[in-house]
Point group: D2
C-alpha cells in the first residue's frame, strides 16, 4: 500500500458562517493532499499533464466526522490501496491538531489522453514510483 | 418524494485548466440546488439558522459522468426521497444544455441545535412544507 | 455609458466565520455580473473565447462598505463608462436587500489573442453591441 | 517597515480554463500570505479573533502582470509599511519560480470589536510584535 502524510493549513476563506471548514472545500484539500503525497515520492502531477495525460475525477466520497477549524494544521494521511490500472483510487484520513479523526474521503480518477479524451494507461514514470509500495514479499 | 428543478449557470472561476467545472465545485452547486429547491416550495434555509438550527453535512457522494462546461445553464433535479428525521438526504441529477446526464450527487445532513451542537428534530415549518410530498394514497 | 442591473444570490460557501461574504468572493461576483450584463444585451462572453479571444484581468479594485450576508439577493449595477479599446473597464455597485450600497468594484481587462497571447482589438460583435451606449448627440 | 517572505503553491482548483490562476483567487492568497507573515514573527491571527477582535477588509487592490501557473511555488513578499492604527495596510509582491514579478496587491483592513462591530485599537500583542520593525534611529 502507498501511504504518505501531508499537512494542510485551514484558510480563513475556507470557513463558513457555521465557523468551520465549508464542506465543499474538502475536495480541494484532497487534490492538494494527493498531489503533495506524490511529490514526496518524486512524482509531479504537473509532469503528467505535460505528457498529455489528464486525470479527471470519476467519483468522490466524503464523510464528515468533526468540524475542521480555522487555522488548524490538518494532518492528512493519503493512501493508494491498489496499484493503479485505467483508474486509481485515493483514500484520505484527516486528523485535527488534537490528533482526532475529523474526516475521511475517497476519490477515484481516470487516466485520459488529453487529445482524444479517451482512457489510457497510467504513465510509466508514475507506475515506477508506485510499484515498490505494492511489491509482495 | 419531494422533487424540484433548479438551474445553475457555470461561472468562469469554477472551471479549471482542463476546461471543465473543477470537481470540487459540485458540492457548492448541491448547496445552491437544495436551498433553491426549498425556496421554491416556500422554505428559506436562512430561517432555519435564524431559529437556531444548523445543518452540517455528514456525508457527500459525487459521480462525475461528463464534464460541465463554462457558461452552461445546468439543470439540477433535487430530490428528497424519504421524509427527514434527525437527518435528511438530498439527491441531485445534473443535466447539461443538451439534456445529457452529466453528474449525480447525494448529500446527507444533520439537524443540530446551534447552541449545544447536539442533534435535534427538523423544524416544524420545514416538515409542514415537506410532508405533502410524502403523503400516501 | 453602458449600464445594466444584475442579481446575485449569496451562497453559503461564500460566507466566512465572520458571518459575511468572504472578501475574496467579490471578484467572482464581478465576473458573474459583467458576463450577465453583456448577456442581457445579446453578447455571450463564451463566443469571444470560441473566436480565439481571451480577456485576462489587468487590475482589480474593491471597496467594502458593509457586509454582504448569506442568502441576500444582491443587486449589482454594472457599468462600462468608456467604449473599449485594447482594454476595457467595468465598474460595479452592489446594493443589499435594504437597497444600501455595500460594495464597489472596478476591473480592467485586456483583449488577448489566445494563440499568441498578444493584445488584440475587441471583437466586432462586442463593439456593435456596446456602441449604441456611447453614441453622442 | 515590516517585511516577510511566504511561499504559496498554486492548487489545481485555483486555475481556470485560461490555464492560469483565476484572478479571483489572489485575494485568498493575500489572506494566507499576511497570516503566515505574522505567524513567522510569533503572532497568530487566530488569537486576535479569540480576543474578540475581527479584521474585515476595507479595500483591496490587485495588479496582474503575468499569469500564475498550476503547481508553481509562488514567493510572496508581505509588507506593512506603516505601523497600524485603527486600520492597517498590507502590500504583497508575487514572484514566480523564475523569480519574475507576476502580481502586486494591497489590502487595507480595519480592527473591529466583534461584539459591537465598532472600530477598535489593534491588540497590544500585535503592536508589540510589529513595533520593532518601525523603530527609528
Amino acid at each position: 500500500m502507498f501511504s504518505q502524510t501531508v499537512h494542510i493549513r485551514v484558510r480563513y476563506g475556507e470557513t463558513d458562517q457555521m465557523g468551520m471548514v465549508y464542506y465543499g472545500n474538502y475536495a480541494s484539500y484532497y487534490e492538494v493532499a494527493r498531489v503533495e503525497a506524490l511529490r514526496q515520492v518524486g512524482f509531479r502531477y504537473r509532469e503528467l499533464e505535460e505528457e498529455g495525460v489528464i486525470m479527471p475525477v470519476l467519483e468522490n466520497h466524503s464523510r464528515f466526522i468533526q468540524p475542521g477549524l480555522y487555522d488548524e494544521l490538518l494532518t492528512v494521511k493519503v493512501m493508494i490501496k491498489k496499484l493503479p490500472g485505467v483508474r486509481t483510487t485515493f483514500n484520505y484520513e484527516f486528523l485535527n491538531e488534537k490528533n482526532e479523526l475529523i474526516h475521511e474521503g475517497e476519490t477515484t480518477l481516470a487516466f485520459l489522453d488529453n487529445q482524444t479524451r479517451k482512457p489510457c494507461r497510467p504513465p510509466g514514470r508514475l507506475m515506477e514510483v508506485l510499484k515498490p509500495y505494492f511489491d509482495e514479499g
